[in-house]
Amino acid sequence: MTESWVSPTAAGGRSAGQWLGTLARQRELSLVAIMVVLGGLVTLTAPQFLTYANISQVAVLAAVIAVAAVGEALVVITRNVDLSVEATIGLVAYAVAHTLELHALDTAGAIAMGLGLGLVLGMINGVVVTLLKVPAIVATLGTLSIFRGVDYLVAGSHEVPFDGLPPGFTDAARDTLLGIPYFVIVAVVVVAIGSVILRSTRFGRQLYAVGSNPEAAAILGIPSRLVVFTAFSMCGLLAGVAGVLWVMEFGTISGTSATGVVLAVVAAVVVGGVNIFGGSGTLVGAALGALFLGFIANALILVGLSQFWLQAIYGVVILVAVTADAFILRRLKRAAVRRSVR
């Protein structure tokens, strides 16, 4: 269905494409607008919202989710989904923290090991989906359970304490460059590199092609399986980055670290306007979605609502975001039909 409104005529197709581009940009703009308005309202009741300390704290937390959400967005754009990211984040976080605790590797070595582990876990997902032909939702629900099981198995009841890490390791979460937290810089670099790849490379365009119309992509000779495999591998790698950031952010790591994070990651992607049916969406949107969720969590606490409201509000935000998507899509289709009739 998604392709019908892009295709009627060459001219109509181009203008529909422009429309889509504008709307995609509007999603990012509307997220920013909502945040500014809500931020103003929150500041009225809780003035400490608009302080540098608070804003940077929100941004640092959101950066971790944003990095994972960028990886998830790559997978979702290909019309797949990766539910195992939280297990990858948790397993990488524990592996890195425990390695550092045992002094088995130096800091750089442990980080490299963590990223490699994330990549391997992502490649496992890619193999199960592309070679074993298991639908992504089933495959990653399975690997979620497997990776988490391995995490529990390795960790047992052990918890890497804060002072088990090398001195200064967790400072990275608080350090800044010209007033900008390092975490935010990492997230911005990831989004920038990813966006350039998506916009300007053959692989990036193939990602969208596979997601928007797999049959047509196959006819065009696009190696769909390789593209999907690469998307899953990148998602694993970025989950690995998020896992390393997780250790720096929280310091205390156990086998249950990052449980339930997949909800925030997928929510960020959906709220950021990436179509869950694949084929459209931007990484900037996914990252802004993560920032938006972090912002809401922060505002909730400052306004004085209990933490228990967070889950319910996440749920409502997801439902509102997909409903908005559906209505935009419907209106687009109607506009395209009207044009093609003329």
């Binding site: 889950q311 319910a312 749920g315 409903t323």
Partner: protein, 339 residues
């Protein structure tokens, strides 16, 4: 294919063989494995999952999915505990909870069937929403002073037998939903929707209404599972049932239901429930930890899709070798085999 070949090719037959193997393995591992008391324990611990799996079967056959069931079970538990703590008798509390379940299902159904949103995202949203509501209602506390007559539902057994009451609930539900899916026009329409929604709609199936009905059923059954869970643990908590959706979906797919809809049977899912219960019990008797069980469950989930896929490929490879011969007269029926 011969009659024997057809029987061997069926997923349910494979499940029975796997089940027998597991039972032999289990009785080798421990002399307690085949005792009635052990059977009763192993089955009681899985009943909430099993009950939710029955409704999930219909949803997945119709080509949708409901990830929110575990949160609905938690919400049911939280509301039941909240009402009981507020002095509302269970004879009122239980119907209220079931009504909440149906309403939650209705919410899912309206978003999926009426607004036309993907059920994966909608129920991911309500997975968070229902759990959040449970936390708002009950907070972090647990309510545990339920009357013995209520905890009997989860703990107790049918007098004179080792059969837990919750198994009776499961069996009745399995028969009812089995008849609905396999013996009525409603069931046929559910398969039709799962195979080809557009064609079903043009054939006069009221797709929207039927899908909403299925989600209401799923919510209702999840609330029932929440009540049974509360009774078995004799404690109402907002985090009840957390993580159960994975097991529910695993059991359904292990029962031979196709994740893309249109194929699967209730007897298959019932067999899968028993197989998973036996497996978990055998692993526990072999003192394999819960962590490894989660690895086993995840692997099973993936294998339950990989094996039919490759069996199908092997079958079509054999068919290709046989090409040239006239197709067997029962090739139409052959569709019921793994394909």
């Amino acid at each position: 294919m011969t009659a024997v070949g057809r029987l061997v090719g069926r997923w349910e037959t494979l499940l029975v063989i796997a089940l027998l193997g597991l039972i032999v393995l289990g009785s080798r591992l421990s002399p307690f494995f085949l005792t009635p008391g052990n059977f009763s324990n192993l089955i009681a611990a899985l009943m909430e999952v099993a009950i939710m799996a029955l409704a999930m079967t219909l949803i997945i056959v119709a080509g949708e999915i409901d990830l929110s069931v575990e949160s609905m079970a938690g919400l049911a538990s939280a509301i039941l505990g909240f009402l009981w703590a507020a002095g509302v008798p269970l004879t009122i509390g239980i119907p209220v909870v079931l009504l909440v379940g149906a309403l939650g299902g209705l919410l899912n159904g309206l978003f999926v069937a009426r607004v036309g949103l993907p059920s994966l995202v909608v129920t991911l949203g309500t997975l968070a929403l229902f759990r959040g509501l449970a936390l708002i209602v009950l907070g972090p506390r647990g309510i545990s002073d339920f009357p013995p007559a209520f905890t009997e539902l989860g703990f107790g057994r049918v007098p004179g037998t080792p059969i837990p009451w919750s198994f009776v609930v499961f069996a009745v539900l399995a028969v009812l939903l089995g008849l609905l899916l396999h013996r009525t026009w409603v069931g046929r329409q559910i398969y039709a929707i799962g195979k080809n929604t557009g064609a079903a709609r043009f054939s006069g199936v009221r797709v929207t209404r039927l899908k909403i009905g299925l989600f209401v059923l799923s919510g209702l059954v999840a609330a029932l599972a929440g009540i049974i869970l509360t009774s078995r643990l004799s404690s109402a908590r907002a985090d009840a049932g957390a993580g159960m959706t994975l097991t529910v979906v695993t059991v359904v797919l292990l029962g031979g239901v196709n994740i893309f809809g249109g194929r699967g049977t209730i007897p298959g899912v019932v067999l899968a429930v028993i197989a998973v219960a036996v497996m978990q019990n055998a692993l526990r008797l072999a003192s394999v930890t819960v962590e490894v069980q989660s690895i086993a469950l995840g692997s099973l989930l993936i294998l339950s899709v990989v094996i039919p896929t490759f069996a199908h490929q092997a079958k079509s490879a054999i068919d290709r070798v046989r090409r040239g011969r006239p197709p067997p007269a029962d090739s139409v029926k052959g569709e019921r085999a793994i394909s």
